[in-house]
Subunit: 335 residues, 2 copies
């Protein structure tokens, strides 16, 4: 086979939800009153989104989306990134695109005309800092495979995909195609399971992809690991798949994180945080820190440490993307 | 003359800009690069707004507008409020309306169809916390006198107007009519001069209204006072108009504030703040605290103290509206 592989132009290319977060702090009671899935992510239709919005306290709007947040974190650390995702041709779509580009990320997927609007996530943040997300995917659920820039995908060292976007059919097909393109170009495929409900619905797909060796780097949290492996014990679950993916990263909230790569294991404690304000983006930024280190070829433990530092920064303020001078923070904390 | 005055249904009715703030922190250099009016407010057209937005770092969107911010502060302190202002029928218009209503404020001015879009203010916040505002008024410049609900205006104990909205013609006529309605109903008229450039353009209008006794409560800052009175010395300027308005309130940033009412003077020091993050809304929230006290019939010094407390809360975070539990904060700090 002729080697058509060239030096990658981007460090990371991500495909993900293109949504704007609508974030409000609220009292504990409201979560129950509105019958929300506390601490989780729930897909809602537009009518339910309107209903929840009407009941929501005053809010702030910031660009979100799991893989988009991760990419923003990676870009902030100085790596070259590009994003593929579907916004509508509306004000929130422009906000999302602006924030990606202003972070230094290339984002050229064309906006989709007409309804539905750009997706939004209504996030209720309780006094303990826990976020409860309600997502109206909007235009994002229609990302067509035809919108993929295959040359772009082939030009990224790592293709990063989010499980959330596995749920709607069009983006799922698009991501399957993207994986093929990346692998044919000899690139790595990184995947975050995103949320247990996604695994409940699409676990067979994920397990098939893992068994087929399509995933090089897998991110899970504790509950996703349990759902994916069917094993409630963390150690058992971790051991059952660590040899099936070249790199496995499992985050454990306050208990830190564990990673395994080619038979080597490493772990890291959670970074101390003065006060948790809003946990939105914690997992996304952990992945950002880890991938930034990984892309630079750093040792596993240092990648984990970067993840922990990035996560600790984002949960200390509202919003899912870094606000601090991240290279400086990394330098200070990594030593 | 038959007394048709009834007990007011609202404590404060405000007419103001209905805009969404787009807030980004930025380095000092960018202010110069973009040739911005550091620390001030500049009206821009849509093309310039687009140009500035393209050059802006990632941002957060929150509802703003000077009088709207003040009203949000007053409402948070438990008073009954209604707002009149012009949004377009678009996503940012819905965001603005949501945030007003979610704060407990009645806001029923119908959205305007078609272009231009809902107004927005691009706010660049430098590391010292100073905000530099660039306002595209959008739909707001077309608030027609016909959109005024005169019955509503007559039902508020205080009508509050912002000078910023004196600049475009339609809202200016609408506000003139609103003042007539309020005075005929025996209500108080409160006015904030907003910004020196407004006084430079419309100072004669303001001085005429003051001389005609149309303004009961006037808010100015130091530079507005100088522009309005033509006197650079604060004391001279203050003395030159304090007998022309029943209540005069002059804010002096870090030097606190001075008020005069019916020959009585009071003053207050600025509240200490750990770290100034974003000065956006400082004047708006000072007015909110003051008016809330005034509406409750509190002594002048206590009204000023409320203003200082409210201002200190808002400059300690991004965004122009209170985020703390304001009644609790007032209780704690007023003693």
């Amino acid at each position: 086979m002729p080697d058509t592989r060239s030096e990658p132009r981007y460090d990371v290319i991500a495909i993900g939800n293109a949504v704007v977060d609508v974030i409000a702090s609220c009292e504990e009671d409201l979560i129950e009153e509105l019958d929300l899935n506390r601490g989780g992510m729930t897909l809602v239709d537009e009518a339910r989104a309107d209903e929840l919005y009407a009941a929501m306290p005053p809010a702030r709007e910031v660009s979100g989306g799991s893989a988009a947040n991760t990419l923003a974190g990676i870009s902030t650390l100085g790596l070259q990134c590009a994003f593929i995702g579907q916004v509508a041709d509306d004000q929130l779509g422009k906000v999302f695109r602006h924030d990606m580009r202003a972070t230094g990320i290339d984002f050229d997927t064309e906006a989709r005309e007409g309804e539905p609007a750009t997706g939004r996530v209504l996030i209720f943040v309780t006094p303990d800092g826990e976020r409860t997300m309600n997502t109206f995917l909007g235009a994002g659920q229609y990302l067509p495979a035809g919108a993929l820039d295959e040359e772009l995908i082939a030009s990224g060292a790592i293709l990063y995909l989010e499980g959330y976007l596995w749920d709607p059919e069009e983006p799922r097909s698009a991501m399957r195609r993207a994986i093929e393109v990346a692998r044919e170009a000899g690139r790595k495929v990184a995947f975050t399971a995103s949320e247990s409900f996604v695994i409940e619905r699409h676990g067979d797909d994920f397990r098939d992809m893992i068994d087929a060796g399509l995933i090089d780097i897998l991110f899970v949290n504790e509950s996703e690991l349990a759902t994916l492996t069917g094993k409630d014990d963390f150690e058992e679950g971790f051991a059952s798949i660590e040899n099936k993916v070249p790199v496995l990263v499992a985050t454990r909230s306050a208990k830190g994180a564990v990673a395994s790569a080619d038979g080597e294991r490493a772990q890291v404690a959670a970074e101390p945080v003065d006060k948790v304000i809003d946990t939105t983006g914690a997992g996304d930024q952990f992945a950002a820190g880890f991938l930034a280190g990984y892309a630079k070829g750093e040792p596993l433990e240092r990648c984990l440490k970067r993840g922990a530092i990035a996560a600790s920064e984002v949960i200390a303020h509202y919003g899912p993307r870094p606000e601090a001078d991240m290279p400086a923070l990394m330098n200070a904390k990594l030593g």
